[in-house]
């Protein structure tokens, strides 16, 4: 009896310690973003000092309006959204077509072509920014939104993901479709795609997140506000001479850049996290 009691108490203590540890770590991990949100509403005429970096006596929205007026964030938003959408639309088409070909057909050189495409997964695009910069110049695309997007039009990762999804569609279903006289694109639309939608969404979410947040490639391939996306615009903004250490202004700009994606993430949290698992483990 006693030993069972002790075990139970130990278990309770253990779960309390676990809860405490989890709470401390979770708070530590959340502090940066929570601080940024609070700081972004702090009036500019109340600079921070030691021990006084959180709430001021009043809250204000003026940091957001000032940041918006100091740099063309509206244009940056449009650029980022256009780039993310172009990449998404083109990728969805290319990966479905290629994934379908690899899953549905036998053809000469299939293994080698597949390996060639997968090379893109082994060599991240950021390693190749110097030669790709030359290619973009040669193509005459420098400082355009298309230049930011075009290296990602073909996706080895997406092709791989769709091939896996299509291969798990039951053969009977495919055969039935063929007997019914489906052409290849009807086969894709009616047989292969419907059960593969989760894979498609998973890929779409991780692609959109990745490209919304991307910085280095857009930085080198753009040179004016007409094509510069939010991330590159933010870094430019933080380096403006008149900004300095105006943290409330900086945090407002920082949060503006992250907000649309971040809010979407908060709403569809489960879907997002599942997508990242899904696209990682397949």
């Amino acid at each position: 009896m006693d030993s069972i009691k002790i075990r139970k108490t130990l278990k309770n203590v253990g779960s309390w310690i676990t809860n405490l540890l989890a709470t401390i770590l979770a708070l530590l991990w959340s502090v940066p973003v929570i601080w940024a949100i609070i700081a972004s509403f702090r009036p500019a005429n109340d600079p921070m000092s030691r021990g006084d970096v959180w709430f001021s006596t009043t809250l204000t929205f003026e940091n957001y309006t000032r940041a918006w007026s100091l740099a063309p964030f509206g244009q940056y938003y449009i650029n980022t959204i256009v780039v993310v959408l172009i990449i998404l639309v083109v990728q969805l088409i290319t990966i479905v077509l290629a994934g379908f070909a690899f899953a549905n057909y036998e053809f000469f050189g299939k293994g080698w072509i597949f390996f060639f495409v997968l090379l893109q997964m082994m060599i991240p695009t950021s390693a190749l920014l110097a030669p790709n910069f030359s290619t973009i110049r040669t193509l005459g695309l420098f400082d355009t939104r298309l230049a930011i997007a075009i290296p990602y039009f073909g996706s080895a990762f997406g092709t791989f993901l769709m091939r896996q999804a299509f291969m798990s569609v039951p053969k009977d279903l495919v055969d039935a479709g063929v007997i019914d006289g489906c052409s290849w694109w009807q086969l894709i639309l009616n047989v292969y795609l419907p059960p593969s939608i989760p894979s498609l969404i998973a890929f779409g979410l991780s692609s959109a997140t990745w490209h919304w947040n991307e910085f280095l490639w857009p930085l080198i391939i753009t040179n004016s506000d007409k094509s510069r996306p939010l991330t590159a615009g933010l870094v430019r903004f933080t380096q403006l001479g008149e900004i300095g250490a105006q943290w409330s202004l900086l945090t407002a700009a920082t949060l503006m850049v992250a907000a649309p994606l971040f809010i979407t993430f908060l709403i569809f949290q489960r879907r997002f996290i599942q997508s990242f698992v899904h696209s990682g483990l397949k």
Binding site: M48, I93, P131, S134, V178, N213
Partner: protein, 295 residues
């Protein structure tokens, strides 16, 4: 199946064509171009070196005899060793903490994962404040714990690289947590029941059963983390610009410097080749050593 196969011999090639063209243009071609350019001396900012001249392995020799470049390699290794193991261990710990049926567990998951969704430049801008001397929150907290060392983290040659490492750990651990979480939820229940019957305590179960069963997850995360640590330098741009005096310059940042600041085509091409070789060697080693049958 047969009918669809017969439809047209060219069809599969046509369907793959768009993907293959973009892979060829932005993955295969740049690798070949870099190999070629790495054998030439070409510097766009010096008039007499604007036209490429063949120098054989000259660029590689210059790099590996340059103490600056050796330091960059050292920094890169420190950065990888500093970020990869700790983020993975934290990811595992977070997954264990979050993989419980407790009310409000969604909050914990959110707390650990949300940095992943932020742009790295946003994350770094926030951390720039944390590292601020005197009133920055990171220093304030450390001071509470008795820290009396230097406070200018991003401007101190001994701390700049560490500050970049800290931000990367904060940003990525939650991402790796998600993979462990998926792994944990796929573990067979009966093994645990058997262990409980045998009277194994929680600690033993963790190290003898859970961790070994997640070996493949760990391997996968290690690959992802390794490649991540190579390809992300966004936070370096915001926090340290690679300084002070290159103390926080890693390989990709050096590549950017050589190509876009010093306009040295040959050196940047050589670094690109080194980069690609390291990544390929790593991936190939992993394919060989891992026991997976069908990728």
């Amino acid at each position: 199946m047969l009918a669809s196969r017969k439809s047209s011999k060219a069809l599969p090639y046509i369907l793959i064509f768009p993907t293959a063209v973009f892979v060829a243009l932005f993955t295969a071609w740049p690798v070949l171009l870099s190999i070629y350019q790495s054998f030439f001396l070409q510097r766009m900012n010096i008039a007499k070196f604007r036209e490429p001249t063949y120098v054989g392995l000259g660029n590689y020799i210059d790099l590996f005899t340059d103490p600056y470049f050796i330091e960059v390699i050292k920094n890169t290794l420190v950065y990888i060793l500093g970020t990869v193991p700790i983020s993975i261990i934290l990811g595992f710990l977070f997954a264990l903490l979050v993989n419980r049926k407790v009310r409000g567990i969604g909050f914990f998951r959110l707390a650990f994962f949300h940095p992943m969704v932020l742009p790295m430049v946003s994350a770094a801008t926030i951390w720039l404040f944390f590292f601020t001397p005197d009133y920055g929150l990171f220093n304030s907290t450390l001071r509470l714990l008795g820290y009396t060392g230097p406070e200018n983290w991003t401007g101190n040659p001994n701390l700049a690289l560490l500050s970049v490492v800290i931000v990367a750990i904060w940003k990525n651990s939650g991402y790796y947590m998600v993979f462990y979480l998926a792994g944990l939820q796929n573990l067979p229940n009966d093994v645990y029941e058997a262990a409980a019957l045998d009277g194994a305590n929680g600690w033993q179960t963790l190290w003898r059963i859970t961790f070994p069963l997640l070996r493949r997850t760990t391997l996968f995360i290690t690959i992802v983390a390794f490649i991540d640590s190579f390809r992300t330098v966004d936070h370096i741009f915001v926090l340290t610009s690679g300084g002070p005096s290159r103390a926080s310059t890693v390989l990709l940042f050096e590549l950017w410097l050589e190509r876009f600041e010093y306009q040295d085509i040959g050196a940047s091409a050589a670094i690109t080749v080194i980069f690609v070789v390291v990544l390929l060697a790593f991936t190939v080693t992993n394919f060989i050593t891992s026991d997976r049958k069908e990728a």
